[in-house]
Structures are given as C-alpha cells and as structure tokens.
C-alpha cells in the first residue's frame, strides 16, 4: 500500500552516463518523517539517486515531487534540503560557529538569532563548547556532528546523508549512528541516507531501499528485508545466507542431495523436478538438542569453526549432501556447552518456515 501522504515522490528516474545506465526508471515514495536508507554495493546508483534528489545531478527522465512541489527541474540552490557528505566538507578556514551559521547568515537573520540558533544546534549534536575551534582541530566523528548541525541549521524539510559514517572508525560509527537516528526521530525530519553498510541500514532505517545495477530490488522495513528478501540479490547482499541447490518433489517436499526435506512456503506449487535454490540464514539452523526430533533433521559433522567473538560461524558437512557445506551461526556458549570441535558429529535441523525458495 502506498502511503497516503509521501513527502518525497520519485517517478521514473532514469540517468545515463554515456552508454552506462546508472538509474533505470526508479520510482519511490518516501513517507513524511521517516528515515529511508538506500542500500547497495558500489555502482548500484544509490549515490547518483541521492545527488539527483539534491539537484547536484540532473536526471535524464523522470520527475521528483517534494512536499507537493515539483522540483524536477529546479537547481540545487532552489531546493529545500540539508546534506551531509562522507568527507564532512566543513569549510576549513571558518570556525565551527561560522560553519554552522553559514546558511543562516545568508537568510539575513539577526545576529542574536543566529547565535542562539547555532548554540542550540551545537547542543543538539552534543558539542556545545567547540564554536571557536576550527574543523581541523576536531576528530572525524566530531566533524561529522558539526556537518550534521550545519545541514539542520536552516530546518530543511529533507535531510540527505551520503555515506555519513564511512570515514569513521568502527566504535565512533556505532555511536554516531545511534545519535543520528535519535536526532532524526526527535526532529521528525524526513531523511534519506545512502550506505553500503547493511548493519547501518538495518539498525537505523524505517525503510530500506535495496538497489542493484540502477534498479530497486526491494523496499521494506529492516525486518522485511532481512526475513523476507524478495530477490536472490537481496538475500545475498543483506546478511549471511546459505544458498543450497535442491530439486522440488512436487508435493511440497524438496530434495537436497540425498536428503528429503519439507520445503518452505510455496514449495508445494512447484512442479516435480524443478531445480531450485534454497536460502537459509546460518542463525536459523538448529543443532543437537533442538534438532533431535526436528522434522527436517539431518546428521552432519563439523568441518570448520570460525571464531567471531560472541558468535561462531560453524561450517558443517551434511551427511546426505556432502558437496554443499552448510554455515551455522552459534553463540559461543552453546559451542562450549556442546564442546564442538572440528570433526565432531552433530545433528542439525533446517526449519522450513525459515527457508526461502528463490
């Protein structure tokens, strides 16, 4: 169901660079006050789409309506948005105060008004005391907070974030993504964020737009994207997934190597003999105790254990399908409890409600 009142509507956006089609008839509605991420590998067109929304590139075809106004042909300076770039793009020769006030000064607001607004913004991003510093004196994360304050200074209707966290170190990235999300929800500003980091997209977004090769693969909530990937690309790109070759039996069951399993939703509609790909998340596989009486149980042995901290990624070989190794995600404690080691036997269950057949 399309929302009744999208703040931003893209219709048939197409962009070509010479022979290369960067965007192919992209249409999308962004609900008011939501945070939408464009997620995809590099070259999928997500940044181009953001720049077209910003008026920094011009689409070859298609229209953009923002807040009821057709902005398709407007130059960037006539549109209503704030933008934050991966490189921060703070003006190095201006103080933090002047950077944040940059757009305010131009609106001929009174000096006192500007001062209080900048102070308010600096407080908002948690850096109330840095007004007299220069950007070069701040850390990357601090600079990006200032860039955010500058983008929000003029209270734009739309906030555009172009890979805002990619230049930061891992800890700062996690901290800042929570801050940005909290700020965005507090101000209820419609926000579009471009990212190639699925974790970022999953943790921050109301809706994720997964893109590939200039097209939208799927739009959905993080839950929908992760649990019900609409295409093989989405399943592959978001999260880790087992891709197993199987053959439909025609009765809702599928054959994986020598194993006959109950298939997931829709498998009963497949005619017998159809070659299918079975998608199953490593964390959905159940092992040992839980797998004993599992309808889709199978015996297997541990081939490799990759220690990841809280979790371990265990590669197991199914006795019935030895050529297709299966990844299983297990908490470290359960691994310890079962004292699993390479070569150890174990039983696994492949829950049919978690399978996707694509």
């Amino acid at each position: 169901m399309p929302p009744a009142d999208p703040y931003l509507s893209l219709a048939g956006i197409t962009k070509r660079f010479g022979q290369f089609t960067a965007l192919d008839r992209v249409s999308l509605d962004v609900p008011s006050g939501s945070l939408v991420t464009f997620l995809g590998p590099s070259g999928c067109g997500k940044t181009t789409l953001l720049r077209i929304i910003a008026g920094l590139e011009t689409q070859d075809e298609g229209s953009i309506v923002q807040g009821g106004r057709d902005i398709s042909r407007l130059p960037a300076i006539k549109r209503d948005y704030g933008i934050v770039f991966q490189s921060y793009a703070l003006f190095p020769n201006l103080t933090i105060f002047d950077n944040v006030a940059y757009g305010l000064v131009n609106r001929r607001a009174g000096r006192e008004k500007i001062r209080s607004r900048v102070a308010e913004l600096l407080k908002l991003v948690g850096l109330p005391d840095v007004g007299r510093h220069y950007p070069g004196q701040l850390s990357g994360g601090q600079q990006q907070r200032i860039a955010l304050a500058r983008a929000l200074a003029t209270s734009p209707g739309l906030l555009l974030l172009d890979e805002p966290l990619s230049a930061l170190d891992a800890l700062e990235r996690v901290r800042l993504r929570a801050e940005i999300r909290a700020l965005q929800q507090r101000l209820a500003v419609t926000t579009i964020m471009v990212t190639h980091d699925q974790e970022e997209a999953l943790s921050m977004a109301d809706h994720i737009v997964v893109m590939s090769r200039g097209r939208i693969e799927q739009v959905g909530t993080p839950q929908q994207i992760y649990r019900e990937p609409a295409t093989a690309f989405v399943a592959d790109f978001v999260g880790k997934v087992n891709v197993l070759a199987a053959v439909a039996q025609g009765d809702g069951r599928i054959k994986l190597g020598d194993l006959v399993l109950k298939g997931g939703g829709g498998s009963e509609r497949l005619p017998a003999g159809t070659a299918i790909k079975l998608y199953l998340r490593p964390e959905d596989v159940v092992v040992n105790g839980d797998a004993r009486d599992h309808p889709n149980g199978a015996s297997a042995s541990v081939q490799k254990i990759e220690f990841l901290g809280a979790f371990c990624l265990v590669t197991v070989t199914l006795a019935g399908a030895p050529t297709q190794p299966l990844l299983v995600n297990l908490p470290r404690q359960s691994l310890d409890r079962m004292s699993l080691a390479v070569g150890a036997p174990l039983s696994v269950g492949l829950p049919c409600e978690c399978m996707r057949l694509l």
Partner: protein
C-alpha cells in the same frame, strides 16, 4: 513505526517524459557567462594569434595564397638549415650539461645531510630573478675580449656557441633543479627500507630505486631545458656573435627585413622542436600516473660523513659559480669602465639610465609586473575554479583545459609574432590594443599561463569537491563561497601565482620584443638595445635593477606568506587530537 506507511517502489509505468532540462538560475548564469568569457579570452589571445602565423606562413608579401612557397624558398636558402642545426645541437649540449649538474645538486639537497642546504638552494635559484641576458653580459665580462679569465678559453671566443651554452646552462639551471627536486622528493621511504632489509647495496639502491623513480622528472626537466634553450632570444642576441640560431632568424626577418611571411615560416619551424618536447613530456607524465601512491612516506636521509662532504664540496663549487655570474653583472654595473677603471661609481645608473631616460623602461617593466600579477592571477584562478568546480558546460570546460596547456609549448617569440600578425591587422576589432601596455600584459599572462594554471588547479583539487554542493544546499550562491572559503584557503597558491607572473613579467623578452612601442618599452628590451650600442655597464645596471626588484618581491612574498598567513589562517594550525 507504522509499517503500513512503508515506502513503496511503484510498479506503475511512468508516462514517458522528454529529456529533463534543469532551470538555469541567476548564479549559474553568472558562472556560465564567466566560463564563456574565459574561453573566448583564450581563443582571442592565444589561438587566434597562433592561427594568424599559420595563415601568414602560406601567404606571400601581398597577402595572396602562396601554398608552401615560402617554406620552399627558405629551406633552399641554406641559412635556415644552418640556424636550425645550430639551434638543435646547442640545445642538446645545454641539456646534456644541465641535467647531470642539476640532478647531482638536487640529490645533494634531498638525500644528504650536508650543512647549508637551504642556502645552497636559494643561491641555485637566483638565476630565476634575472633576465637571461644577465648571464650573457656576465660571461662577456669574464671571458670576453677583455675578460678576466679569457685565458681559460685557450684562444676560443666566448661570442658564439660557447657563450650561448654556458649562459643558457646558468639561466635554465634553477628550472631544471626544481623539477628534479620534486621528482626526488616523491621517492617512497618504504621502498628504501624494504631494499635495506634485503641487504641491497648503496649503488644497487641508487640504480633500482632512485633513478627509476626520478626518471620522469629527469625527462621532464630535460624537455624544459631543451625548449627553453631553443626558444631563448636574449642570450644569443647578446653573446651569440655571428652564430645564428632560429630565434635570431625570426627577429632579423621581422624587425630587420620586415619580412613577416618568412618570419612566420621560421616561427613555425621553431615551434616544431618545442611542440615535440612538449608531447614527449606529456606522454611521459601520463605513464607516470600510477607509479606512486599518494601515501608514500617521504625519504629522510641519514648522515654519512664522506658522502655529505663530497656533496657539500660539489654544491659549494656550483654555488660559487652562480654567485660569480651574478656578482660580475652587479660589479660591472657599479664600476666606472671595465676593465680600465674599476673604481666604484653610480655612473652607469645615473648617466646610463636616469639621464638618458632609459629608467622609464624600468618603470614600464614594474608596471607590467604588477598588472600581469594582478590580472593574470585573477584570470588564471577564476578560470581554474570554474573548470574544476562548476558542473555542466563540459565542452567549454574541456576546451579551456586544452587551451591552458598550449602556452607551455609555444616559444615566446612565436607568441609575439602571432600577436603582431593578429592585432596589427587593421580590420581586427582588437586592433586598438596594438602598441599599448594592455597587449604586453595580455601576452605575458598568456605566455606564462600553463604553469600558473597548473598551480591553481593543484590547489583547487586539494579542496573538498562538495563545498559547492554544501553551499547550494544552504542556499548560498557559489560566488559567496568562492570569496569566503575557496580564495582564503587557496591564498598561498594565489600569492605563488602572482609572484611567478610578476618575476617573469620583469625578465621576459622574447614575446614582448615584437610588441612594445616607444612608450611601453621594457627594461629587458632596454638591456638588448644598451648592449647593442656598446653600453654594457648600463645594460648591467638595468639587469641589476631587475634582479633587485624581483628579489624584493620575493622577500615581500615570503613575509606575506609567513606573517599574513599566520594571522588569517589560524586554521592551518596542527590538529590538537
């Protein structure tokens, strides 16, 4: 969050639109207009004059089409072949001498721990401050008919190839040196450390790391030296004697015999080796691109007594030689009459320059320097900004990029010749410029455009590409951001360009020799005419004035970059994290 409000990819087909044409707003229109003006300026003041030479070269004296008749006639004269041969072999010898000298000097400055590296560097750069004729005058004093060290030449005359070669080596040395230093500084310390950990010998490191990584710089320097020597007019004019080179031929055809068409032919022939050198250099530069990562760790030399001493001795000899050349010119300007009366006197300045009114030429040069620095910097920087930071109008921007690279490959004499042909044409709407200071300023800006342009582009490229996007999102027009951010951040580069243009305007001769009028005669031209009339003392005095002025400008520049920048560019202070 209510999931029913999900953003949805609409599957409905969208009615076909025409190609979207963005609305052009006022500030964008300004940028576009400026771009067009810049492009037009380069076409009128660079391309059109060069085209005029082409046209003139295939016409006879009456202006009727003569095909390649002029070329044929000149090629058959034999005189051309001799000049062309002379030009080529002299330039080759100068290159073969200068490059090893400059490389060793640069190596000493960058790879040794000898004392006085800064002083040596400064001394080696002094020839830049002087017109090339200064070297010629000085060598006449040292080795001429009444020269102090004439015996060293063992009967050979300094007038001719010997004089041209040593003067050119002196004058071009700093240009080669700077290029080679830059190339040597590019070396990555990690390569040397890796070699060391593998137990590589010093010599092997030199031949497998140092030389290969400096290779492109050496070729580039060689091309610059070669082009400079081929194009230079002042040195052969003063010390060449009866030894003919192409630059002299052009001058004689145009000024002596008023044979413009034949001048055009020689000009085109002079253009050939320089364009060839330019192409070789451009080709080498392109293949260099991927050689170094920008994350290279700079090389830090370690002290080595024997090596440092050897390098110190070498640099001291070169520096002494440089100071001897400059010193002799200055000395000549302050004595009564060489070699008979060596007492101190201001006679050359007072009688030679002031009383004769020749001093006006000096003031013209200073004026030219300031105007060139002011308008040249403005034109170069704004143009570079527009092509680097504006979007759209790709064809125009590409054309400007191409045009900006051309002046490097055009000898000053050829440019000056083109200006005569183009602007002296009464039907040309710009004819009014002919004989004015404006045409001198314009030709000088164009003559030195390429280096200035590259400096500006490098500075602009180091700025974040998104400044313009950010200011558009904040609804600040681009010109405000240009004034508030771009210019202040690029101030060092802007000052550098201004200084470069000023100094070159002070010393340039080859383009302006065709373009001055009695009212706008320049100091460099005055040196040539004073020398022609045998007043070598006054010529030396004029050269000394130029050196003093250029030095003063360099000092002002150094002070500006230190004092003023320290005050206005507090943000350059190192980060405190």
């Amino acid at each position: 969050m209510n999931t029913s409000a999900a953003g949805v990819a609409r599957s409905l087909p969208v009615p076909p639109h025409g190609r979207v044409k963005p609305v052009v707003d006022g500030q964008r229109r300004i940028a576009q207009a400026l771009l067009i003006v810049a492009c037009a300026a380069l076409v009128v003041f660079l391309l059109a004059p060069l085209a005029a030479i082409l046209v003139k070269s295939v016409q006879d004296k009456d202006g009727t089409f003569a095909g390649l008749g002029q070329f044929r006639a000149y090629l058959q004269s034999g005189a051309l072949l001799e000049s062309a041969w002379n030009t080529l072999w002299v330039a080759s010898v100068v290159t073969l001498i200068t490059i090893p000298l400059a490389f060793t000097f640069a190596y000493a400055l960058t790879r040794s721990c000898m004392p006085g590296r800064q002083v040596f560097r400064l001394i080696a750069l002094t020839p830049i401050l002087a017109p090339s004729m200064l070297a010629a005058i000085s060598f006449i004093q040292w080795f001429g008919n009444q020269g102090a060290l004439k015996v060293l030449l063992m009967g050979h005359s300094v007038y001719g190839p010997i004089g041209i070669i040593i003067s050119a080596v002196y004058a071009i040395f700093p240009h080669a040196l700077m290029i080679v230093i830059t190339a040597l500084l590019l070396a990555d310390r990690r390569l040397f450390e890796a070699a060391e950990s593998l137990g590589t010998s010093k010599w092997r490191k030199f031949f497998t790391i140092t030389l290969p990584s400096a290779r492109y710089g050496l070729v580039s320097a060689a091309m610059v030296v070669f082009s400079y020597t081929v194009s230079d007019f002042g040195i052969p004019k003063v010390i060449g004697g009866n030894f003919h080179v192409l630059a002299i031929d052009i001058y004689q055809q145009v000024i002596g015999q008023q044979n413009f068409n034949r001048g055009a032919v020689v000009g085109l022939i002079l253009l050939l080796p320089v364009v060839l050198a330019f192409i070789v250099d451009a080709y080498m530069q392109r293949s260099q691109q991927s050689q170094f990562s920008s994350r290279a760790v700079p090389y830090a030399p370690r002290p080595s007594r024997a090596f440092d001493t050897a390098m110190f001795v070498y640099c001291a000899i070169i520096a002494a030689f440089m100071l001897a050349v400059l010193g002799m010119a200055i000395f000549t300007s302050f004595i009564k009459l060489w070699p008979y009366d060596l007492h101190f006197s201001l006679r050359n300045y007072v009688y030679g320059l002031v009383d004769g009114g020749v001093i006006d030429n000096y003031f013209n040069s200073v004026k030219l320097g300031f105007l060139t620095a002011l308008f040249g910097t403005l034109l170069v920087f704004v143009t570079a900004y527009l092509i680097e930071k504006m979007r759209g109008m790709n064809a125009t921007r590409g054309a400007i990029r191409l045009l900006a690279a051309i002046p490097m490959a055009v000898p000053g004499m050829v440019l000056g010749l083109g200006y005569i042909f183009f602007f002296n044409e009464p039907r040309n709407p710009f004819h009014f410029l002919y004989g004015t200071m404006a045409i001198l300023v314009l030709s000088t800006i164009i003559h030195y455009y390429t280096s200035s342009h590259l400096t500006a582009v490098t500075a602009l490229k180091s700025l974040d590409d998104e400044f313009e996007a950010v200011s558009a999102s904040l609804k600040v027009p681009f010109y405000k951001t240009f004034a508030r951010v771009t210019m202040p951040v690029c101030l060092p580069a802007i000052l550098d360009i201004a200084r470069y243009l000023f100094i070159n305007a002070m010393v340039t001769l080859s383009a302006v020799i065709f373009l001055y009028s009695p009212d706008t005669k320049l100091a460099s031209v005055a040196i040539v005419s004073l020398d022609e009339s045998g007043e070598i003392g006054a010529a030396a005095a004029m050269a000394t004035l130029i050196v003093a002025t250029s030095t003063a400008v360099c000092i002002v520049y150094a002070l500006l970059t230190r004092v003023l920048l320290r005050r206005t560019q507090a943000w350059r202070a190192p980060a405190s994290d």
